[in-house]
Symmetry: C2
Subunit: 569 residues, 2 copies
């Protein structure tokens, strides 16, 4: 490729919403260009990086028996009705009508298409297990796209679907994918990543893992044990039971607390009572059933984990509308309040064995002191609906937990029979019994992988690509390209490198050395080759690696060989 | 790949709408599966063929300096408003709203996206020319999808866009693409294809070519000279002026013709008057302006070419509604009828110099005889609005023209400045003047190429793939795969072939020889390798080519080497 012809605007003007380094540098280098909110055009170098990532993904998927197919972007409503997701998925799915008024959707994931593809032809356990996958464009109408290619609406994704006779077989295959994903992320150059247990969300199923690049700018919160291998996404993270110290029971008392409603205000009104000694109340409505209020009690220093709460309720939730109820916001407490068809009460585990607590008196301007469970109210059970925090301890080994931010770069799910059951895919198992195959599904976003690599490697000068995914391995800077001798020698090296299979970009522009070096650094090409009047005089070229690990002079004649060596790593 | 695990239903049940051989065989082999009208899932072998085609397309595009990018499937209305196509394109473009009520479209072509991508960064003629291309999913809401992958709604397409300073530069580059397309179609194995001049339709621009696979089942009609290199799509095909013999002028006469209205009826009513001697009238309305009638006169043996007529009118047309006009359908003639603001009259070239013609008398049940232009009515000009037919002669060399059917497999357009002008892309030319770059655009549908190859090669037994695009090069039939010795030898060959880089599928199923041979033929794998108790006894394997050109026994030890030879050549 000739740099003079490369399309893509290298620019210094960056919009203010670009705050993380991968986003900034992908824009500055002209690798991506926004078309509309969450929808991007990839320039040639970005597309080359995507292809390099996809090649690695394909190799690893094929190595574990994956069959690459292609499912459509546009699907009929009917398919999604069969799985029940036409209704259960909200605004993030695009729905439209064709010219004959038939309902279509844009695929955001392809479980339905995968089951549709195989359910007529796979009829026997002998055809199981198998895994089909694709690398295809998807569209998810995200409310907030952000971070360049990190959270977008249109994206290219590798999504795989495996089908099994038994749960054991799925578990075994899941392990293979789990390992393959580690190989993929390592091969594309990521270093600081982990797999964490995660929530299965709208996918259904039970066991799931997310692969996370650890970085301060990640929007996911991860809980990681400082000692053992326990790692989980905040949504599912657990911890050791919190200990509530033993105290002598004191008599129940009602106190005037005036306008103090928030935990902090109550604590301060009461002269600095510890937040751990206050019972916090949080109310929700079930989504689609606003007549029912869910009232959650939790220790005042903790937060509700809405993912866990949704699982407990088996329903989506929205902030409660308390109008028309007799609940007094800011003064809610568990004493004297009863469950009813319109009111569900849930106690978090953190309240188990609490004594002498502060809580709302269910009366404007008043709280209760010294509230004790069992004595003052009853709780059927205590459920885990809290967020783990950095004060908590590992549920596995008891060591201190750390909190990290991360960017999700991949996910794997054990789906179970959610789709094969609803879509009526049946095979005969080895006992001759009709069963619904058990599925797993496995995703990697290609664009997000580009951003994740950029995020891990970029520095103040720009991007920096690992050799395995770099758009070009070598950037030839011809200084004084107007000098015919220089130009000819540089062209000669360019041709030789291309012939040797080394993907190379040749900066043939009439521009200053500083300008060329800056573009080379900004674009993050791993090896810079400088040829100049000075170097030609000495019959050498200068080689330098973008990561700073090498700077050397190589005889002109040895240069191609040396570069091949460096590319091999 | 193991045949026992290959997903995709090989079936004998073919729906009745599948009538052409590529469609039937792609279904029978389980290579494609319908998801909804015009929307397909590609199984692994079809996806492999697509990838092989795409690789060849990429190589040829890169060889002429193409830069592969990726434009989005989903685009904002705004972009298409800029080019004017949001309005000018009809129902075939999918439009929908996102969660914030903003209008989006699904891309059916990407001129807008290409201009959007480069217009801010390309500012000087020094950056020209360049060509950017992508291979991306598109959606076009076709009214009638048909023929498997031939006419679909969702498809993968390579679309390229070049930008030039001058028309000469575009013409020069266009020639390069023209040649590259010949190389592409040859390399993917097509033989019986040609390039024809074509209409530019909704793309705008002037010069365009379509690449056509010649086949009786094609839905396009092509005009080809029997002697010289003249070739054109029916929409734009021209011919030598038709000769109307000299006769003595006879006096104008009005005759009663009763219910005879169609050309055939009038001819027969008048005792067999040649259709060449009758003036045919055809009426249209301008689309979106039904107050205006367009009245076309043409020689009775010819048909109106609506594509040419649209160009003349610079407007889309619909069949005329004559209610409320004083035009008498079936008895229309040019004598005594005048153009007006509501009536436009067009004469086809075929009427130039006609004498003693029959035409309608503009009066129920009457026609005129011996009508002569100049004497009986006046025509300002004669325009070419006729369809060429097999009676016509080559406009270039005068030889007889042939009519062929074809499937369009690619197209190239000289677009001009339609998009750079409307979308305000400006660069400074070498005189320092601001100009709109001149564009070309270049498309190849990947799925349609699969169908075209299938159509050209398939026979009664099934598909047959050229080596360059075959999903697997070798199909190992292990007969008596339950014999451990056979199975081990076959597996050994399979491993060796894979290691040697020969893409191979191994039929490891416990099935009869006939069953395996049939699947191998149906799937169209170029080389069949049979290993059986009989062949092992002789220490050989049997090799056979799908195209019937080879059948031989090869010593077991020589087999891999021989296959590599066959794959190369």
């Amino acid at each position: 490729m000739l740099m003079s012809k490369l399309v893509g605007e290298r620019t210094k003007t960056i919009p203010s919403e670009a705050v993380i380094k991968s986003h900034i540098m992908l824009l500055k280098s002209g690798f991506i260009k926004l078309v509309t909110n969450g929808v991007w055009t990839l320039s040639m170098p970005a597309k080359k990086i995507a292809e390099n990532i996809q090649r690695i993904v394909r190799e690893e998927m094929d190595a574990i028996g994956g069959q690459e197919c292609l499912f459509p972007v546009v699907m009929p409503r009917d398919l999604w009705e069969q799985s029940g997701r036409y209704k259960s998925i909200g605004d993030e799915m695009v729905r439209f009508k064709d010219r004959n008024d038939r309902d279509l959707v844009l695929g955001m994931t392809h479980e339905e298409a995968a089951v549709h593809f195989v359910r007529d032809s796979v009829k026997s356990y002998q055809q199981l297990p198998f895994m089909i996958y694709q690398i295809q464009t998807k569209f998810r109408d995200e409310a907030r796209s952000r971070g360049g290619l990190i959270r977008v609406r249109e994206f290219t994704m590798k999504d795989g679907y495996s089908f099994h006779e038994t749960q054991e077989d799925l578990a075994e295959y899941y392990e293979k994918v789990y390992e393959a994903y580690f190989r993929i992320f390592s091969r594309i150059g990521l270093k600081n990543f982990i797999a964490v247990k995660s929530d299965t969300g709208m996918m259904g199923g039970s066991i799931a893992h997310e692969y996370m690049l650890l970085t301060d700018v990640g929007e996911d919160t991860l809980i990681i044990c400082s000692e053992c291998d326990y790692k989980a996404n905040m949504e599912v993270a657990e911890c050791q039971p919190r200990i509530n110290g033993y105290e002598k029971l004191l008599p129940l008392e009602e106190v005037f607390t005036g306008a103090a409603k928030e935990i902090k205000e109550v604590s301060s009104f009461l002269g600095g009572t510890s937040q751990k000694k206050i019972i916090k109340a949080v109310c929700y409505n079930l989504k689609g059933d606003t007549g029912k209020t869910v009232l959650c009690f939790i220790r005042g220093d903790l937060e509700i984990n809405e993912s866990k709460l949704k699982k407990v309720l088996k329903s989506d939730i929205i902030p409660a509308d308390l109008l028309g109820t007799n609940i007094i916001a800011g003064n809610i407490g568990p004493v004297g309040i009863e469950e009813s068809p319109n009111l569900k009460i849930i106690f978090d585990k953190s309240l188990d064995n609490c004594i002498n607590m502060v809580c709302g008196a269910n009366k404007e301007e008043y709280h209760l002191l010294n509230v004790c469970i069992k004595r003052d109210f009853s709780a059927n059970e205590f459920l885990d609906i809290s967020k783990v925090n950095s004060q908590d301890f590992c549920p596995k080994c008891g060591a201190k937990l750390k909190i990290n931010n991360g960017i999700e770069i991949g996910n794997i799910f054990q789906l179970g029979t959610k789709y094969t059951k609803s879509m009526e895919m049946k095979v005969l198992n080895r006992e001759g019994k009709e069963i619904n195959p058990i599925m797993g599904c496995y995703g990697i976003g290609i664009g997000r992988a580009i951003s994740a690599i950029a995020e891990e490697y970029a520095d103040d000068k720009g991007l920096s690509w690992p050799m395995s995914v770099a758009p070009w391995k070598v950037y030839i800077c011809a200084l004084r390209a107007d000098d015919q001798n220089i130009f000819l020698k540089a062209s000669d090296l360019y041709d030789k490198l291309i012939k040797a299979g080394v993907d190379t970009i040749f900066d043939d522009r009439l521009a200053s050395p500083g300008f060329k070096f800056a573009d080379c650094d900004l674009m993050g090409i791993p090896i810079r080759l400088v040829i100049s009047p000075r170097s030609l005089e000495k019959n050498i070229v200068e080689l330098q690696k973008r990561d700073g690990s090498l700077k050397e002079e190589v005889p002109y004649e040895m240069c191609v060989e040396r570069i091949i060596q460096l590319c091999r790593g």
